[in-house]
C-alpha cells in the first residue's frame, strides 16, 4: 500500500469510530433510555477520567493485563514446546493428532469445573484457565509450522548431518515462525476474554470483576469506563504483536 492510500485508510477508520461515538451520544441523549442503563460517551469518559485520577482504574487495568500476560506467556511457552515435540515426529502426530482434534473443540468453560475442583476459586485457577484456553491456537499453529518444512530443506539438513534436535532448532521452528506468531495473536485475544471471565467467577480484583460489581450496583458509567479500557487493552496488545511480527518476519518482505 502506498503511504497516501494508507493515510486514507487510517483517516477513514478514525472517522468511522468518531461517527459511532456520535451515534452512541445521540441514542443516549434522545432515545429516553435512562442513563442508569445507557450512559452517553460523555458520562463514561468522565467516569474513566475520575477512575484514573484516583488510581483505582489504573490498578485494576494492570491487574487484568498482568493476569492476561502471565496466562498467555505460559500458554505460548507450553504450546510451542509441545507443538515442536508433536510436530517434529511423525509417530507423535499420528498418535496424538486425533486426541488433539477431539479435545480442541471442547470449550474452555467445560474445563473450568475441573480446574476449580483442584485449585478452588483463586487467582491460580484463573491463570490455569487462561493458559488452557489460549494454548490451542499456539499449539496447533506450531504443529502445523514444524511439520510442514520444505522437503528440500530437510534434505539440506540431512546432507549437512544435523541431528534431529538441530533440525528442529535451525529448520523446523524458524519455519513455524509465521504460524506461531499468528497463533500467539489469537491466543492473546482468548487470554483477555478468559481473564475477564475468570475474574468475574473467582472475584479476583481486575477489570472483569469491576465490570461485574458496577453492573450489580447500577454504576453503568463506571461499567462502560471498564469496557472502554478492555477495548484499549485489546487494541494495544494487538499493535505490540504486529510490531513484533513486523520485526521478526522482516525476511518475508522484499
Amino acid at each position: 500500500m502506498s503511504p497516501v492510500v494508507r493515510l486514507l485508510w487510517f483517516g477513514g477508520s478514525v472517522a468511522v469510530t468518531a461517527l459511532l461515538v456520535l451515534l452512541w451520544q445521540l441514542i443516549a441523549t434522545y432515545s429516553g433510555i435512562p442513563p442508569v442503563f445507557l450512559p452517553g460517551p460523555d458520562r463514561a469518559w468522565n467516569a474513566l477520567v475520575a477512575g484514573i485520577g484516583t488510581g483505582e482504574l489504573t490498578r485494576l487495568t494492570w491487574a487484568t493485563v498482568e493476569r492476561m500476560l502471565y496466562g498467555w506467556v505460559l500458554a505460548s511457552m507450553l504450546g510451542i514446546a509441545l507443538g515442536a515435540l508433536i510436530g517434529s515426529s511423525r509417530r507423535a502426530r499420528e498418535y496424538i493428532g486425533p486426541t488433539l482434534e477431539l479435545v480442541r473443540p471442547v470449550p474452555v468453560s467445560a474445563f473450568m469445573p475441573i480446574v476449580m475442583a483442584f485449585l478452588g476459586l483463586s487467582g491460580r485457577m484463573v491463570l490455569v484457565v487462561i493458559a488452557i484456553g489460549s494454548i490451542w491456537p499456539v499449539l496447533l499453529a506450531t504443529v502445523h509450522g514444524v511439520s510442514n518444512v520444505e522437503p528440500r530443506l530437510l534434505e539440506v539438513s540431512r546432507s549437512l548431518r544435523f541431528s534431529r534436535f538441530q533440525t528442529l532448532w535451525k529448520f523446523a521452528l524458524p519455519n513455524a515462525q509465521t504460524d506461531i506468531l499468528a497463533g500467539m495473536r489469537l491466543g492473546l485475544t482468548v487470554a483477555l476474554v478468559l481473564a475477564v471471565i475468570g475474574e468475574m467467577l473467582a472475584s479476583e480484583a481486575g477489570l472483569g470483576y469491576h465490570i461485574l460489581t458496577t453492573a450489580r450496583s447500577y454504576r453503568s458509567d463506571q461499567l462502560f469506563a471498564g469496557v472502554i479500557l478492555l477495548g484499549l487493552i485489546g487494541l494495544a496488545s494487538n499493535l505490540v504483536l504486529q510490531a513484533i511480527e513486523w520485526r521478526v518476519l522482516r525476511w518475508r518482505r522484499r
Binding site: R152, S159, L160, R161, F162, K170, F171, P174, W251, R254
Partner: protein, 268 residues
C-alpha cells in the same frame, strides 16, 4: 599459450584411484525400475558430467552418492567404503536453489549454516563467511535475504555454502539449468576456477550437452527407462577452459557432433 603442454592432464577415472564407485547399482521405486545396473567410477580430482534426458535418473544417481538414497541393488562406495548416509566432506548442490536456501537467514546466515554443521567455533565463523561470500562475489549482499537476491545470486550463495563445507566432492544437480545464458557462462567459469584451485572432485548433472563438454573431463551419457549408462566419452580439451576458444576447439566440435548423433540414434 600452449596449454596442452602447460597443464598436466587430470586424472581419469579408470587409471587413477577411484574416489566414487557405482557397483552394479539398480534401483526401483515400488515396482518401477528407475536405474538398471549402473557401473562406473569417478577418480580423485576428476570432473565427470552425467547427461541424459529428463527422468532418466540423473538426480537419483546423485542422491545415492550424497547418501540421501540407498540403492535397492548393488552399492555406491566413497573412498573405499560403502555410502550409507551423507558424508561431511561431500557437498550437495540442489537443482532448485530457491528452495534449498533458508529464507529466514541472510546470505551470511546461510553460509554460516554449513560452518555450524562442521562445528566451527562462533568466533571463527565471521571471517570465513566473509571470505566465502567474497569468493562468489556476494560481499555486498551479506545482509540480504534470499528473497532479495536474483536467481544467479541465490545459486552463487548455494555455491558458497557448499564451499563452506570444504568439500572433497561437489555433487551438482543441474545447478545452472534455470539461469540465462550470460549468468550461466559466468558461473561455469567461476565454478571451474574454484574447483581447480582446490582439486575438488566433481559429479555434475546436466541435460545441456555443450555444458557437459565445456566442464567435464568425462561425459557419461545415460539412456532412459530404465536409466543406464549408454556410453562414456573422454573430453581431451586443455584446461583452463575458455568460453570462446574451448567451444571452437575442433575436438569440442567433434565430440559435440559424436554425442549428438549418438543421442539421436538412441532415440530412433
Amino acid at each position: 599459450m600452449d596449454t596442452n603442454v602447460a597443464i598436466a592432464p587430470r586424472a581419469a577415472g579408470d587409471t587413477a584411484e577411484p574416489l566414487i564407485r557405482f557397483h552394479n547399482v539398480s534401483h526401483s521405486f515400488g515396482s518401477r525400475q528407475i536405474i538398471d545396473n549402473v557401473d562406473f567410477s569417478v577418480g580423485r580430482s576428476e570432473f565427470v558430467c552425467l547427461i541424459g534426458p529428463s527422468g532418466c535418473g540423473k538426480t537419483t544417481l546423485l542422491r545415492m552418492v550424497g547418501g540421501l538414497l540407498t540403492p535397492s541393488m548393488g552399492e555406491v562406495t566413497y573412498a573405499g567404503h560403502r555410502v550409507d548416509g551423507p558424508e561431511s566432506d561431500v557437498a550437495f548442490m540442489f537443482q532448485d536453489y530457491s528452495k534449498a536456501l533458508l529464507p529466514w537467514r541472510t546470505a551470511s546466515g546461510n553460509v554460516s549454516l554449513a560452518l555450524e554443521a562442521a562445528r566451527v567455533p562462533r568466533a571463527e565463523r565471521a571471517p570465513r563467511i566473509e571470505a566465502l561470500l567474497a569468493k562468489v562475489g556476494l560481499s555486498r549482499h551479506a545482509d540480504h535475504y534470499p528473497a532479495q537476491l536474483s536467481g544467479g545470486m541465490q545459486q552463487r550463495l548455494q555455491i558458497a555454502r557448499c564451499l563452506a563445507q570444504d568439500p572433497a566432492v561437489l555433487l551438482m544437480d543441474e545447478p545452472f539449468g534455470a539461469l540465462d545464458a550470460m549468468t550461466r557462462q559466468a558461473l561455469q567459469d567461476e565454478m571451474l576456477r574454484l574447483i581447480e584451485t582446490s582439486a575438488t572432485t566433481a559429479l555434475f548433472v546436466t541435460h545441456d550437452l555443450e555444458e557437459a563438454l565445456y566442464l567435464g573431463d568425462r561425459v557419461i551419457a545415460l539412456y532412459p527407462n530404465p536409466g543406464r549408462v549408454a556410453q562414456i566419452f573422454d573430453v581431451k580439451l586443455p584446461r583452463p577452459r575458455n568460453q570462446l576458444t574451448s567451444r571452437e576447439d575442433p575436438e569440442f566440435l567433434r565430440l559435440r557432433r559424436e554425442i549428438f548423433d549418438f543421442i539421436r540414434e538412441g532415440e530412433t
